[in-house]
Every structure is written in structure tokens, then in C-alpha cells.
Symmetry: C2
Amino acid sequence: MNAIGIDVGGTNIKIGVVSKQGKVLKQDAFRVDPKEAGLSALKRIAKIINQYHKQYDIKGIGVGMPGILDLSTGELLYSSTTLNSWRQINIIKTLTKLTKLKVKISNDANVAALAEARFGKYKNVNSLILLTLGTGVGGGIIANKHLVEGNNGQGAELGHMSIDYHGRKCGCGRLGCLEAYVSAKALKKDAAKAFKKEIPVKDIFTLYEKGNPIAKKVINEYITYLGEGILNYCIIFRPEVILLSGGIAKAGSLLTKPLNIYLKKHHYGIKGTAKVLVDVASLHYDSGIIGAASLIL
Amino acid sequence: MNAIGIDVGGTNIKIGVVSKQGKVLKQDAFRVDPKEAGLSALKRIAKIINQYHKQYDIKGIGVGMPGILDLSTGELLYSSTTLNSWRQINIIKTLTKLTKLKVKISNDANVAALAEARFGKYKNVNSLILLTLGTGVGGGIIANKHLVEGNNGQGAELGHMSIDYHGRKCGCGRLGCLEAYVSAKALKKDAAKAFKKEIPVKDIFTLYEKGNPIAKKVINEYITYLGEGILNYCIIFRPEVILLSGGIAKAGSLLTKPLNIYLKKHHYGIKGTAKVLVDVASLHYDSGIIGAASLIL
């Protein structure tokens, strides 16, 4: 038995048939048109699904999308992306009606965490945290092998934990949110200030690798911010693994190596307590589809 | 079928028979003697349990104790209490051998959260956080009706989440831990500084109630610290309820009223998202016994 995974992003919508083993058997994608009504996009998606359904045994549909959702209806309550036209639509009811299949929905970062826990490099662990370091900062929590989504799916906003109650102002209104320090936007801003010019994230890490002192200062500060956020998540969840994904995680060991040194140096618990591994996420392009399908599989 | 709950504290050890409905049917207690070897105390406990076992149907034994434990063995890895003589004992194996009953163990704050989730005022919720505001600050997490204990039970150290990465030095070695701001010790220290003399916690709240301007300043700052910590837990877990226990929670509405005002004023999520209720814990004296027994019930 397979499931459909729908990965709704701010740029693309990807739809795939995923096997019980987490393999994507078939997939399609189309670009998000901010001018297209959400209902019209859903009809396009349903058409593709109904085609799939003729070819494959399908158990149900899982949807992963950014923003704050009402889990019971799939209604998008808040989104800072191009998906504003999707608001006030009961996505679950609409897709169920159009496809006659069972529909479940969750936040994109939650389903990415679920994909890692079910089919990733660390699929045998009981607990993991996924932290997405992109334009914004999100996350997903797996404890006792299950998603911790919070009441009506509105928890796990891991980018909005404050690491400094009188710190930087975040877009959400709070002070000191992790996102205000470790998002790609924040890193670019910090780098622009240090270099006195705009500089792409990739180049900051390249300069850091070459030993550029300004890049070193910027990245060391970044490691402190991210390290403190991760230490908080270690203290709270003591997961077996913390996985990093999103644009900044592309820096790979340039990010994880100094980060692991920072974490070892600072408080990680006392002698004898369980270690926490920090690594980059193992599933990339398809993790959205696979994770969404995992809500059903 | 009933279970035994053992509430190991820094001052007293309480042992009770708890029914499936969460009622304490019988209980005993004795004072902790810091000079007594842990093994000797365990033998005393086993003797009481074996007496209970003659009178009641007993399914197993649950133990709640402070400090950092190895969940698989029940070994106490770290404790700042009078229980140092309990270290390096495989509590699970020892008690099983002495009583022939199944034994489970968890941190005292975890089992207190479990007691609230199973038998407290909010026993119908799926998710809650319990925050103990005592000499130290601890906590327990219930998500999807289950304890989130972390790898080998070493998570949920809710007092050691930092709310200021360059803030106050905590006893654990980190900077800005919530405990360094909202423990009874921290509140007393802040009050002593403001009043220029030592003053008991109870009196600070009494003065606050009477409108004393120094007490008002101290408590308002306390509410900010606690409010920011709680906001973090709302963002991360979006629980249905956050319960406060421990010495400071005795202030009741003098604490929860300004706290709820602070939380409403600050970022709680966007319009339409689920509310989080903050209240004092409903089970008091026996919550340790009931919670410990809940590990089995």
C-alpha cells in the first residue's frame, strides 16, 4: 500500500506516490502562482492524484505545508509565503471531496522531521529534532517515535524560542527569537554589517574556510547563537540526534564541525548522560513528499 | 489492580499503595538520613512494600526521585540533594530482587506531571507542561498523553533552558538558565538586593499584594522572567495547560494573575491559534506517590 505526499512550498508544489518503504514511485511538480486561488491549485493537485490512483494502490493523502495550520481542518491560519490565497480553505474537506481519499495535514518542518525519523539515516532512533535553517527557522520534534505537534498542531515553532529575552526584535513580535539570529536573513544581515557589503551565505562559508578573519568572526558568532539554541533543545528534549536542514545546512561540515566543538565545550549534561549527535539531514529534495506521505504510511 | 508509588525526596521518602483511580489507599513515610546508605534505605522501603503486598493486589512499583537518572538501571547519576549515598546503585534491579515486583523509575518532576495528566484537574488534556518552582526549577512534559523524557530519561530539564545566552551564571555552568531567574533561591536573592535585607518568599508576595513598590518591582521582574520562559514552552510545545508547582506556586493567583496578563500581552501565537492556560498544579501532597505509581498504572 502506498500514500500520496503533497509538499506545498512557497515556490513549488510537489506531488508524489510514496511506497511503504519510503520510495518515491512517481512524482510531479508545478510552480506556485501567487495569483492562482488556493481552490484552483487544489483542483489541479486532485487531478494529478486521481491519475495516480488509477495506477497505484493508495491508502491516503498527506499534505505538508508552511505556515500555521488548523490541523483539524487543514485551514492555513498564517503564512508568510506566496500561499496567502490558500487561506480560509478547509483543505482536508476539499481534497477528501475531490479524491475520495483520507487526508492528513501537518507543517512542512514537522513532516520533514517525520521523513528523517521513518526513512532517513537515523531512522532507528526514538527521538530527534529537525531544525530548518532557511529564510526563516522552523523545526519538527520526534519523541518516542511520534511527532510532537502541540495542541491542534500549533507547537514546534522552534525558530521562535527566545535565546535572549531582551535581545533582537523578531518579525513575530517577540525579542530574541532564535530565528532573529540564525536564519539565512539574519546571517546575511550580520555578514553585511561586518563586511560592509552584501555577501551571499555560500560565500561567507567559503571565506570562513579560507580563514578570512571577518568571516571567522561572523561564523563564530553564528555558531554561538545556533549552539545556544541547540543546547536549549538538548536540555528540553535530550534527543538522540539533532538534524540541520535548509539553505544554511548546505555548508555541511563547515557548520557541523565548529558547532559540535561548541556543544562539547559548553554544558551538555553531566558525565554519564546520553550524548546528542548533531548532523545535517539525510533526505533532501524529496523529504517533503516522503514526510507528507508518512502522515498516512 | 493497584501500584506502589515511591516518592523519594531530599527530606522525606513517601511510599503508598495507589488504586487505578489514582487514590492513595495506604501510605507510610520516613525521613531521609543523609548518613544512611542508599541500599539500607531501599531495604527499609522493600520491607514496607512486602507488607503492602500481603494486603493488596500490586501490579508493580513506580519510583520518582530528584536528580539525573539512568532510566534503564535507575542509577542516580547526579543529585544536588541529600541523596548522594543513593548513587551507583541499580535501583531497579535491587528493588525487583527485594520485592519480586516490576519496577519503573523516573524523575520526580516527570512523575508529578504524569500525576496531573492522569488524575489532576486537567486530566482530560492531551498535552501539559508542569513547571516546579522550588529551590531549583524542574519540569515534566506530557505530549499526546505520554511523558516526553528524552533519551534515557535525561530530557525535560526545563529549568536549564537559557532565556539569555549571555545572562546570569547558573549552577549547571550555562548562562541565563531559567532556574537562575525564577527559582526560590533566585527570587530571594533579587528581593534581598532590592529590599537591602533577607526576606522570605511568602513575605515578598504579601508585600506585593499590599502594593509595596519594591515588592512590585521585584515581582514584576519575576513575572517577566517566568513569562518569557513559559512563552518559550508555549512556542515549542503549545500545550493545552501549563501548571506551576513548588514553593513559589503557593502564591496562587498572586502569581498566575499577573503572569496571565503578561502572557496575553506578549506573543502567544497569531489569531485563531489554540490558547494555553496557566494554572497552579491541582495535586499537592500526594502527587509524588500518585505520579510514581502512574508509571505502572
